[in-house]
């Protein structure tokens, strides 16, 4: 490489764009009906389909994102390939000079779509969630007979055409015995250089639309001890990474609620509402892009970083807890669980404490927000 033309490393930090990344939920509908899903609607849900952003609306958002300096868009869902205009939107985004990150179950990766992705590469690996290593386990999660076979065919089409993809797991009762098998298989694929991640501490329904499903999701969550066993399955690596994480990020956060990336990568839901993150569906924290511009939304959503907790229980616990950055507690999770932004989610608290005890940072009965000498504990 000469000096005239240079490869860009870390483009998000390099250019200081107002909107380096954009998430677009093309649809909430999905061709799976996974037992744990926090968002999915039926693939043929006509009401949902009618409410979704139109093709011109999505194109308008993408064009404005490019003008704001966006470098990458994520297409997610539901299942984004369910949209009949997926190819059009994909090519439009690429011709704007955007990288396109696709989150998919791969069941709808047809030969045509695979050819498209080979000819016009997304410039970032496709991310595929894998629900099981065999038809019985996979189909038991998705509740769609034959879905495993379709997923494997989709992945094979990407492989044949050398379209890069990475895989991640979703640990659930039908596939819990397959962790080692999944890890080994994932590492055998060309673009996985590390063990895959596994989701396991599932969110409740983001739109509070199904109490029965919420009860099912709660029953599917791994216990803190079960989750720890998976997280620390490579113990040396886990301890090393936790130590590095602790050195950089641990400490009581105070009462500011959004100490995360929320508001930096704007997320657009299937109906054209901009949110600070994919999980945050609280209506007064969203901006309707059918009446406001994306530029306006970027400015307004940045204001979430000024919001402070007022719940006394949060102030007593989370605001003073040195594990806060390790804990999955956040305003979006609080919203999904409790309908507020600042109510502690006991499940996530328990998971974080289990990890801290495993690392030797806490005694069995200690609560992290009561520990004054946390810096010494992390040495």
């Amino acid at each position: 490489m000469t000096d005239y033309v240079r490869r860009v490393t870390r483009p998000g930090k390099r250019f200081g764009s107002r909107l380096p990344r954009l998430d677009v939920e093309l649809t909430e509908r999905c061709n799976n009906d996974c037992i744990h899903c926090c968002i999915n609607l039926a693939a043929h849900d006509r009401r949902a389909r009618e409410r979704e952003m139109t093709t011109p609306e999505v194109r308008g958002i993408l064009a404005e994102a490019a003008r704001l300096g966006c470098l990458q868009v994520r297409f997610t869902g539901g299942e984004p390939l369910l949209r009949p205009d997926f190819e059009e939107l994909y090519l439009f985004a690429r011709r704007l000079g955007l990288k396109v990150l696709i989150f998919t179950n791969a069941r709808l990766i047809t030969a045509h779509i695979a050819d498209l992705l080979a000819r016009v590469p997304p410039l970032v690996a496709v991310e595929v969630t894998v629900y099981g290593m065999h038809a019985d386990s996979y189909d038991a999660v998705t509740r769609v007979p034959g879905s495993f076979a379709q997923f494997r065919r989709g992945l094979d089409r990407l492989l044949e055409r050398r379209v890069p993809f990475v895989v991640k797991g979703a640990l659930l009762p039908p596939n819990r015995g397959e962790v080692d098998e999944f890890d080994a298989w994932a590492l055998s694929t060309p673009w996985m250089h590390d063990r895959p991640g596994h989701s396991m501490f599932y969110d409740l329904r983001h739109r509070h639309d199904d109490a029965e499903k919420n009860a099912l999701i709660k029953s599917l969550r791994l216990t803190p001890q079960e989750g720890l066993k998976v997280l620390a399955r490579d113990e040396a690596k886990y301890r090393r990474e936790m130590g590095e994480f602790a050195a950089k990020f641990m400490g009581p956060p105070g009462d500011l609620l959004f100490r995360c990336g929320a508001g930096q990568a704007v997320c657009i839901d299937a109906y054209g509402r901009a949110q600070p993150c994919m999980g945050m569906r609280k209506p007064d924290l969203t901006v309707d892009l059918r009446t406001s511009s994306l530029s306006d939304a970027v400015d307004r959503l940045a204001d979430v970083h000024d919001l402070r907790a007022t719940n006394p229980e949060y102030l007593r616990r989370c605001a003073r807890c040195f594990l806060k950055s390790l804990c999955e507690q956040c305003p979006a999770k609080s919203w999904a669980e409790h309908g507020t932004l600042d109510t502690p989610v006991e499940y996530h608290c328990d998971v974080a404490h289990a990890q801290a005890r495993y690392m030797g940072w806490l005694e069995e009965t200690e609560r992290a927000w009561e520990v004054a000498d946390w810096r010494a504990r992390l040495q």
Partner: protein
């Protein structure tokens, strides 16, 4: 073997890339496979590269580009010609630039 820059040649950005300007920099984004060295990468131009790139719009040959830049910048014509040839050769090799085919 990629074509080498000719001072009589007229060149334009390939249709297989997208050139964007972000925060004052030119970012070259590949559209198809086989552009640049490495898949999945974005590219940018240095300051000399940017000044030359902006003149590669199909309306002038490289000789004219050299003469215009010599008028605009405080450098010898020889240095500017070397930069123009260097950039165009590199962009041709990476398939980011193509000869302009007039109708």
């Amino acid at each position: 073997m990629a074509e080498q820059a000719s001072l009589q040649g007229v060149y334009v950005p390939s249709e297989d890339i997208v050139a964007r300007e972000i925060e004052g920099e030119i970012i070259i984004v590949p559209l198809v496979s086989g552009i640049g060295d490495v898949e999945d990468e974005l590219y940018t131009l240095n300051e000399s590269g940017r000044a030359i790139w902006e003149k590669l719009d199909g309306s002038r040959n490289l000789d004219a580009v050299v003469k215009e830049l010599t008028d605009e910048y405080d450098a010898t014509e020889g240095k500017i010609e070397a930069d123009v040839r260097g950039l165009v050769d590199e962009l041709l090799r990476r398939k980011m630039l193509v000869p302009f085919a007039s109708d």
